[in-house]
């Protein structure tokens, strides 16, 4: 089992999980834009890396992700389209945009191009390649956690969290809650785009279908993280999401290594994990009700 490789991938997906955490937990609305914005970040980053600007590719991946998120946010707030549908519309439209960005080709190879990772490896020739990758990726995702943890304690960040909590209260504080919602979804997709941008340079290729189902991967990460880190502060939540992504990757790698299921079953397993976890409160309630009924019947039988 390739632990280092799994950790590298895990910390890249940690950035994705941060984005999902913002919409799913902070704003309380799962956002389906991510399947499209992930690929958008990936496509933009790949094309810019091929053009000789790998670092710019990461920045552009973030910005383009934000733009996609802002569009979904506007559809939700200005056009009053159902949040899930708004996300689906953007995601669906982005498929064409992503293909256009990639020049109409469904996949691109970066093997001939400089990426941030080839640059970093050349900068630190004395450190083994895998460690250069791991350290830089861990550094980047922890930087993202730090920036977000700080942001959510600023005035705007606080307003953003309150909007997900009680938008009426935010308006009563004379803050435009619609604007906050757009900003939140944009920010979330910015991080999703960044994750795609990093991933493509890491694996040296871009694929138009790379974003398929990343929403489920992200949700699974957030949920797994919450099981491990139970502190419900904002920093706790961010760390949980990031760690959840890493643990998710480790679990998947372990399952594949032990040959629990073939690789193509991955998506199904992820979906089942998410579905079960989200259903747990309901399952608990059903069990509780069944117990009350049983005890009541026992009681009636005894007397």
């Amino acid at each position: 089992m390739d632990i280092l490789g799994t950790l590298q991938l895990g910390f890249i997906y940690a950035i994705l999980a941060l984005g999902i955490f913002i919409t799913f937990r902070v704003m309380n609305t799962p956002d389906l834009t991510v399947d499209g914005s992930f690929t958008l970040g990936l496509a933009v980053s790949a094309v810019l890396a091929m053009g000789g600007h790998p670092l710019l590719g990461l920045g552009a991946g973030f910005i383009c992700g934000m733009a996609a998120g802002a569009l979904t946010g506007l559809l939700q707030t200005k056009a009053r389209i159902h949040p899930l549908l708004a996300g689906i519309l953007t995601m669906s439209g982005l498929y064409s945009v992503n293909l256009a960005v990639m020049g109409g080709s469904p996949n691109l190879s970066l093997l001939q191009s400089a990426t941030i990772f080839t640059v970093l490896r050349r900068a630190f020739p004395q450190i083994p390649k895998d460690y250069v990758l791991l350290i830089s990726i861990v550094f980047l995702s922890l930087l993202c956690v730090t920036v977000l943890a700080w942001f959510f304690r600023t005035g705007i960040g606080l307003a953003l969290r309150a909007t997900g909590n009680n938008a009426a209260m935010v308006r009563a504080s004379s803050i435009n809650s619609d604007g906050m919602r757009v900003l939140a979804i944009a920010l979330a997709n910015g991080f999703v785009g960044l994750a795609g941008a990093v991933l493509t340079q890491y694996q040296n290729y871009a694929d138009i279908n790379a974003g398929l189902g990343v929403i489920v991967v992200g949700l699974a990460s957030v949920i797994i993280g919450e099981v491990v880190i139970r502190k419900r502060s904002i920093l706790g939540g961010l760390l949980a999401a990031a760690m959840g992504a890493v643990i998710y990757r480790l679990l998947i790698a372990l399952a594949l290594y032990l040959d629990f299921f073939p690789a193509y079953m991955l998506r199904l397993v992820s979906a089942v994990i998410v579905a079960i976890t989200l259903a747990i409160p309901q399952i608990r309630e059903l069990i509780g009700e069944a117990r009350i009924r049983r005890e009541a019947q026992n009681h009636a039988g005894n007397s």
């Binding site: 005035g155 960040g157 606080l158 307003a159 309150a162 009680n166 935010v170 308006r171 004379s174 803050i175």
Partner: protein, 269 residues
């Protein structure tokens, strides 16, 4: 301070459930005045508050606050000068945020440029403790508790604090103690009077409690069918008992019922 001129609002116009919620209502409030509003369900009391706060635009008429025409100003912009409390204690606070975060959000927005600087500073925390101590509910020691963990009364008191921390030009209280137990309700009412009085905030308060409608403030208005049907102030109000007011209320309601009957019988003829 507040000048409402002949406002009208029809909901669901053109449908079978069309309803004239405000029927040419005018009202003037002097700076610092505390006016209580009574009336039966559906009289248009909450609609009046909605119109003032900007939950919707009125069809006709104008609303001015402190000389400024706010008739078509967006709700969140009006909120800068208008504080509003509802019956449901959950409406005014963010339950997932801590007490200090709720306070910091409102305070930093009102006092500093809304920005990317930290919302909560050490000096703020001391100030918040002071404010909370005045509520006398022990909240000053629970700054880091999530607001969702507080009781309804505590939350409503906190909401009152949030909406008056920077005194608004107008405070709208929509039965804000109706969902609380009697003791807590009395306590929140007392705080309301104290805070509004100290800061001389112009206040409108809807209540179903006739006694507090007469006791609080300096003027009482009664609404029915989207209009003000009675105003009480001065000597007449001072000497009026709850019984008298109920009596008056019945008289006015009966007169209208009689009018309705005449109308119907007229149609039959």
């Amino acid at each position: 301070m507040l000048e409402i001129h002949d406002i009208k609002k029809v909901f669901q116009r053109g449908t079978s459930s069309e309803q004239q919620a405000l029927a040419g209502l005018s009202l003037c409030l002097q700076p610092g005045e505390f006016v209580t509003v009574i009336g039966s369900n559906g009289a248009g009391k909450s609609t009046l508050f909605g119109a003032i706060a900007g939950s919707f635009f009125v069809d006709r008429g104008s609303i001015r606050l402190d000389g400024e025409d706010i008739t078509y100003q967006k709700e969140y912009l009006r909120a800068k000068h208008i504080g509003r409390l509802f019956q449901d204690p959950n409406t005014g606070t963010a339950p997932g945020l801590t007490i200090e975060e709720n306070l910091a959000l409102v305070y930093s927005k009102a006092t500093r440029r809304f920005s990317l600087s930290l919302a909560l500073r050490p000096a703020d925390r001391r100030y918040f403790k002071e404010l909370l101590a005045r509520l006398d509910m022990g909240l000053e020691n629970r700054l880091k508790a999530k607001v969702g963990l507080l009781s309804g009364g505590q939350r409503q008191a906190l909401t009152l604090l949030l909406s008056t921390m920077v005194p608004p030009k107008l405070l709208l209280l929509d039965e804000h103690t109706a969902a609380l137990d009697p003791l807590t309700a009395a306590k929140v009412m007392e705080l309301t009077e104290e805070i509004a009085g100290q800061n001389k905030i112009t206040t409108l308060m809807i209540t179903h409690n006739v006694a507090s409608a007469l006791k609080m403030g300096t003027r009482t208005i009664m609404m029915d069918k989207g209009q003000i049907v009675m105003e009480l102030e001065g000597e007449e109000r001072k000497t009026m008992t709850s019984q008298d007011l109920l009596q008056r209320y019945r008289q006015i309601m009966h007169k209208e019922l009689d009018n309705d009957r005449m109308l119907f019988s007229g149609e039959e003829e």
